[in-house]
């Protein structure tokens, strides 16, 4: 663990400059002007703190994405079981219309043909 007072730049050139606006867009977060700068500072200092990790030789080391190597995925029988009723589900939904969940429309696929829009859209956003 590097000392707590390690700040931006302490670790040398390796700490990348985070494009916080781009990251915020990916995360669907909105940063106000002052907030973006503060966020930038905080993230940079956290990353600077992680500098030590780069000193480790991890070549040829298998990554661990979970807690146990030996864990194997269990597969389940293809049997239908009751889930939630429509009422149970829709009760908690912020906006509902005719049994559907209602959301403001995205501007993404407005050039799509009218027929078969549902399927078309599925592709449009992939």
């Amino acid at each position: 663990m590097v000392p707590l007072n390690a700040g931006v730049g302490d670790g040398g050139k390796r700490v990348p400059k985070i494009d916080v606006r781009h990251v915020a867009r990916l995360a669907m977060l909105e940063l106000e002007d002052g907030e973006a700068e503060k966020m930038q500072r905080e993230l940079q200092s956290i990353l600077a703190h992680m500098e030590e990790l780069f000193g480790l030789d991890v070549d040829g080391v298998q990554p661990s994405f979970g807690s146990f190597d030996e864990a194997e995925l269990r597969l389940f029988a293809d049997e239908v079981r009751a889930g939630l009723s429509r009422d149970e589900f829709l009760r908690g939904v912020p906006a509902v219309k005719d049994g559907y969940v209602m959301v403001p429309r995205t501007g993404q696929e407005q050039r799509l043909p009218r027929e078969n829009e549902a399927d078309g859209e599925w592709r449009a956003r992939r």
């Binding site: 979970g66 939630l84 429509r86 959301v103």
Partner: protein
Amino acid sequence: MSAGAKSERVGLEGVRLVSEKEAAGGRLAREDLELVVGLEVHAELLTRSKMFCRCSTRFGDPPNTNVCPVCLGLPGALPVVNREAVRLAVIAALALNCRVNLRSRFARKNYFYPDLPKGYQISQYDEPLAVNGCVMIPGPPPKKIRIRRLHLEEDAGKSIHEGDDVTRAAYSLLDFNRCGAPLIEIVSEPDISSPEEARQYLEELRRILEFTGVSDVKMEEGSMRVDSNVSLRRLGQEQPGALVEVKNLNSFRAVVRALAYEKDRQSRILTAGGTVRRETRGWDESLEITVPLRLKETSEDYRYFPDPDLPPLILSEEWLESVKREMPPLPEEKKRYYVDVLGIPAYDASILTSSRKLSRFFDECVSRGADPKAISNWILSELLGYMNSRGLGPDAIPTSPEFLVKLIRLIDIGVISGRIAKDILVKMCETGRDPEEIVREEGLQQVTDRAFLEHVVDEVIAENLSAVEAIKKGRSKAMGFLVGQVMKKTGGKANPELVNIIIKSKLE
């Protein structure tokens, strides 16, 4: 998010205007350009329940009725994997000559979209279920289309768009019934070089997936969907040009038309000295053109990472072997069997193996003891003739193997003639009834009741003693007379051969 679509100049977008000189220098003829296409096909697997939960996958239920905490992405819900989905995906992989990875992994593909409840799709990324497959297309000339990978993933929900953009009343309605249904994605190598080859590849894929029971591959219900990556390459060059992704291909016809359109559009740009822009376009069915889709710049960074909710998918050799053993035959194998073993002509065999339903129908007829060639002829000429005239697909064969075999047996044993049988088949198809029932109720059978015919013969002999005498003296003409008398008394339905035999035996 701004409302309203930009109006685009059809066919010209992507053109970078270059100076006359530059264009002249790089003169490129259309003939020098070759189409390079890779297809991504999604097929919904024929399971009863979803990929990661036990909700029904039934099509056409009222909206939001087949849902649970898992497929709705409620806080705290976790995925579990459907074994049948894995089995079907493995069958597809084997049928497409892929190498199945005994160890694969689920990964999260992160992006925001209202019909994607968790904000990520569970898919497979750098450790897919299967790789390195291929499909042969008939051509001519026949060609091998390589498959890069095949992986498992979950479907998203459905959105219906309503309201209009101008008044800002636009909204979408979401139905999560389909959300979480199991899919396989099959990614081809860019080996396809014409719209026709693309069609053949898709036909072949559809035939194989349908035949092996992996998917019902109905494009109209969205259970098979196609995206394409299109570019042009200078003949003789390795490197293709900028990749254009074309989406919204809702039918095979749309694929063919869109590829032809793109080939044309891109060649026009290139021959004019322009540069094709790397972008995503959508096929506009009504205008028959592709148009750029305005995708968010950020949507390209999906931040794939291994799904921490799901350990690696490990398949055992034994399990894989058992899937192989129990695997339904492939259409090509089946066809070879029909030709080599059952003696069916190759063309007929390929029609019989164009769909699993049809092939199964035929197989069951044969297993019920029918003569393969005879039953094949009946299916191909009469049954399919009837179905085609009514617009019925192989999903909706209007009679059963049992009844068709019965019908043919009725001809074989002389109960009905071949000509009457054709009429009866139409009736069978229209009513779904048993041919024996039809024959009986409508009195269409030849009279073959020996006791009854003997009785009639006895009567005729008693009434025509002179003719009997004539036969005994060797005048064969009189024999015909007696048979005629029997036919007269039975209204023409007596089996003439049987009557002959009876008379002869009576006079011996």
